[in-house]
Point group: C2
């Protein structure tokens, strides 16, 4: 038996030679995520052996540098005879069994193409060509013969041939008498040859749209000829074990080794999802030859292995906002290694390509003169206001409250999360609905908003978010200056834990909503228009999906406008990326969009703090902004 | 002790755990080359462990694929407890101690620039720039700020930024207040950024010219600003252990694993030479940012990992003759990984970039209307005839005779090789000169030519290359139909081995010279001009360096023209590559040259066989072609 010590918890266990590290961790009571079930594909169970020798097989998932640094996959590493010290990254985001995988795993609607038939012009195309046999007389090389056909028949001048393609060319041109299918990605006037294969390859070319969110990653497989989405999978970003929001990720990334760890983690998540969507369609992942990636600027930096530090430091300058067409191989995305990645261009350090991609799905970018507001709310809120003549954008830091962070019994929107609450006006007690209709285990962001709205409407809390001391409810306990609301009482036999929300929790939600609303206010001030002039509001993002409009307006998170002006977009970043995969017009519009937006920096704007302070009330200091929001009259009981 | 068996020789030894494989091989009497002295840098001692386990450290020289196939560096591998079988590639080209390294290791003449001052326009240039600090207002990313400066101040549009450059950009732009030195390689209207470093880097930019010959590899380090060559090193191509000429290399390369071995071997030679020239100038190899590579078409294929098989098979079609600007990193050349390699373009499967590069050094490509002949003679002879109006080229297979191959006691032009012979007209005995003035150990190509010419001039052999049976010499032994000439008698005490040449050896040289001369004849016939119309003859290549003009004319290897018309070019391939490193005009002329040459295929030309048969005499069947060549009158002795 060999001693295995896990840091930083210092928990340890004795394990026999041959024991899997994942198993040893369980034995020591250390929680290591392995959503792929130990197949060594998701990369989530990465740990670092800081002392001792193991028998590790990183299966090619971990780059050599990481292996040299001692990183291993816990599921693919066994204990030898030497004592081990194993560092398990701090699992800030992990809350026991509340962590779920593949929360949104749906078959997309493939009855309609992603864009109109006439607009289909995919990122990558495969064409069948016939390359004449070599002739003694003309002395043309294989490459020259192929290039001639591409030029004469397809008008393609001087394409770029990657070395791995050239290495297989001689065979490809000879195995089927010169019949080849050539996969190409046009780029900057010329194009890159991605693959050359003998014979008539099955005519379908596939691409993936990848939405890299701070919290979740979504991948959609798209058939490029038919422009139809054929499979979608979603999972938590493997980086959340290293920090919940972009700022904590940037902090984590300050050490180059940990930066590399973050890169590997998000690649693990992406590649695992790609494997899954591909498997659904019986497609080897390396047959996927195109990819459009949308993510916020920090996610894009971490995925490319760039130091995100200056995103966090004034003047908040990213290394890049648009990426050259790097190959999947050099970035580490497990599709055809020669595929060129198209990154949706971003606008600034806190308004990334996910927003540009999302805007494509809203009417904002059309020819209309009417003003629209685009909102993507999460730990980071991104906002765009504009019409055909102007586009202003800004980002605000809402903090993790909307995703359950900083809330005593908060959790993400996963099974067991209270997502909706109804307050009895008389008794003040709550009726709850949970995601998955299971036993409640915590409360998520939309649950908190619902609770807050209910308590405000029924008059149990005042505009400052405090419990009205003059009313008594069995659900409310006041202990000196601290008030607590019992959302779910504990079971009498002690089997069920109580779930409660404190005034401090409420304050966190109010700060988050104030950050968002004041950012909207500031954008409108910049644009010189009033709230009422907003003709349409588009709510994007995973959080928007669970948001109850009335509740959100009641707490003053979003403007009190006629309800018909609101639209939910769902994961518009993924949708925009998918559209870009199949339409050149969309890709070009997106690039134009990114350049045409004016980024408004809030951090250094003194007017923002005024707006923020005014928004720290329910629904707002200026109640005329929220004409439809009412609270119950306060009845003083003796 | 553990048994180690070496194949294919089946020699074996018992070695203790921890014994170096190189040492074990010596113990077993198996010769493994390790010119770098076991530092693990030259890659020459590569062997393949086909059974048993070793402790191997491939030091990153061997690619993963090779390691997986069992390849190891013998100098970096130790014996463990298990029995080993180690395959040592057949050392066809190795002849005991005659193998020398760094035969030509000279300081180049750096008193003059490689090209005229006005023509200096190097492949790669480093410029000092000042990139303005990031501003909150403009929202420009690091990449955008750099691109703006490149566009505004240098007119460079949309340069290509490799991912590794982008990864260091944030630091580079901030470490010295925006002062950076940017190394760029212009390419196709735009350019590739190779490196961005903070501050004022030492202003010198270095490049290497690499001549990859079938037998030898030469590397010259060039300072790109001053256009001066600063160091040159030459070594045998590490591939010669796998076959002496291109055809045997192509045979060897039919197995993909062996093809990979050939790639590693030539890379080992090149990288070792680069390390040496760099060390001479105290320059870390990764500071070298440009490279021009010249080699025959087969060498270029093997270096790039391409299958050369179709070069050998009719209609002799190479995969490519010009290579895109692949990075040093992806090809495996150990200079700055992002450097782009410029391959001198070739004309056909048997007239490669080495010839195009060499032609640049001859007057052939100028504006002159006078006709020139360019000859590069080795195992493969390449010829070009032309003037400003036309250029015809062809290749002939001379076989290995000129490099000592196929000659009983032949060897390459290395220390101990007889390179010149004088024949006593009366006795027929020989007086010899060896390379390095050492004890003679064999005879090289130029020695054979000298011997043949001497024997013919003095009348000891007839035009058919046979010893005149009617003359007796103590040096000539006739055994039935086989005649043998004793060049060096053995020492009386047996300490010195005799060196002799047989009629069969002479026949091999005659076949080789006939192959070359008949190719010249055919080219001239194609061009419609007579031998006498050749105004200049340029003799290129390592073999040409040792060639005695009179001897070569006497045996009918080269045309009998006024001696003033001949010029020796030395290693014109290396010289042309070096010039191309520093002059865009040269690079462009070379590309134009490659396209303007007409390749004449000899293999399928019936007239070639007629010409060849006529050339199988000394000096030629048609003696009017060689007016100055005389043989001694035959004196019949009683």
């Amino acid at each position: 038996m060999t001693r295995v010590v896990f840091t930083p918890s210092s928990r340890s266990t004795d394990a026999a030679r041959g024991t899997q590290l994942l198993e040893a961790a369980r034995g020591a009571g250390v929680d290591i995520d392995a959503p792929c079930g130990g197949e060594g594909v998701c990369g989530r169970c990465i740990v670092r052996v800081t002392a001792g020798r193991t028998n590790a097989d990183s299966l090619g998932i971990l780059p050599q540098q990481a292996v040299d640094e001692g990183y291993v996959l816990a599921c693919r590493t066994t204990v030898l005879d030497s004592e081990l010290t194993v560092d398990v990254p701090e699992l800030a985001g992990r809350t026991g069994g509340k962590f779920i995988e593949d929360g949104d795993d749906s078959w997309p609607d493939d009855s309609q193409p992603l864009v109109e038939q006439s607009k289909i012009d995919p990122l990558v195309r495969t064409m069948l060509l016939h390359v004449p046999e070599p002739q003694l007389e003309d002395g043309l090389s294989d490459l020259e013969r192929l290039s001639r056909v591409l030029r004469k028949e397809n008008g393609i001048e001087e394409p770029e041939y990657p070395l791995p393609v050239v290495r297989t060319l001689a065979d490809a041109l000879r195995n089927d008498n010169g019949a080849v299918s050539v996969t190409l990605m046009p780029s900057r006037g010329s194009c890159a040859v991605i693959d050359v294969r003998p014979g008539d390859r099955p005519p379908s070319t596939y691409g993936v749209a990848v939405d890299v969110g701070t919290t979740t990653v979504a991948v959609q497989l798209v058939c490029l000829e038919t422009a139809r989405a054929v499979a979608t999978r979603t999972d938590y970003n493997g980086q959340i074990a290293c920090g919940l929001d972009v700022i904590s990720r940037i902090h984590y990334a300050r050490d180059p080794v940990r930066r590399e760890e973050l890169r590997i983690r998000v690649l693990g998540t992406i590649n695992n999802l790609i494997r899954k969507v591909a498997r659904r369609c019986d497609l080897p992942p390396e047959e996927i030859t195109g990819a459009v990636i949308a993510g916020n600027t920090t996610m894009m930096h971490l995925l490319l292995g760039l130091d995100p530090e200056h995103i966090r430091l004034a003047p908040y300058t990213p290394t890049l906002l648009e990426a050259s067409r790097y190959t999947a191989g050099e970035v580490g995305i497990h599709i055809h290694a020669q595929s060129r990645l198209f990154f949706c261009p971003g606008v600034g350090s806190y308004v990334g390509g996910d927003i540009t991609a999302g805007l494509l799905c809203a009417g904002l970018t059309g020819d209309s003169g009417s003003v629209s507001l685009f909102m993507d709310i999460g730990t980071n809120g991104e906002l765009v206001v504009g019409n055909r003549d102007f586009l202003l954008t800004c980002a605000c830091s809402a903090g993790p409250a909307f995703e359950g962070g900083g809330i005593g019994q908060g959790m993400r929107a996963a099974a067991g999360a209270i997502e909706r609450v109804e307050i009895d006006p008389e008794t003040g007690s709550a009726k709850c609905w949970t995601i998955g209709d299971t036993r409640p285990v915590g409360i998520c962001g939309s649950g908190m908003i619902s609770l807050l709205a209910g308590l405000y409407r029924t008059g149990w809390i005042d505009p400052a978010g405090k419990f009205r001391r003059e009313r008594q409810s069995p659900a409310i306990a006041i202990d000196g200056r601290r008030g607590t609301y019992m959302v779910v009482p504990g079971g009498e036999d002690g089997t069920e834990a109580a779930i409660s929300v404190s005034e401090a929790d409420i304050e966190n939600i109010m700060r988050a909503k104030a950050a968002v609303y004041s950012a909207i206010g500031l954008l409108l001030t910049h644009a010189g228009i009033g709230i009422g002039e907003i003709d349409r509001v588009y709510i994007a993002g995973g959080f928007g999906r669970f948001l109850n409009l009335e509740d959100a307006i009641t707490i003053g998170l979003i403007p009190d406008l006629p309800r018909s002006r609101f639209s939910y977009l769902g994961n518009s970043s993924l949708a925009g990326a998918s559209k870009s995969l199949v339409s050149r017009e969309y890709r070009e519009r997106m690039s134009k969009l990114a350049r045409s937006m004016t980024y408004v920096e809030l951090n250094t704007n003194p007017a923002y703090m005024d707006q923020y302070t005014s928004a720290l009330f329910l629904p707002h200091t200026d109640s005329t902004l929220f004409p439809t929001v009412k609270t119950a009259p306060v009845v003083h009981r003796q």
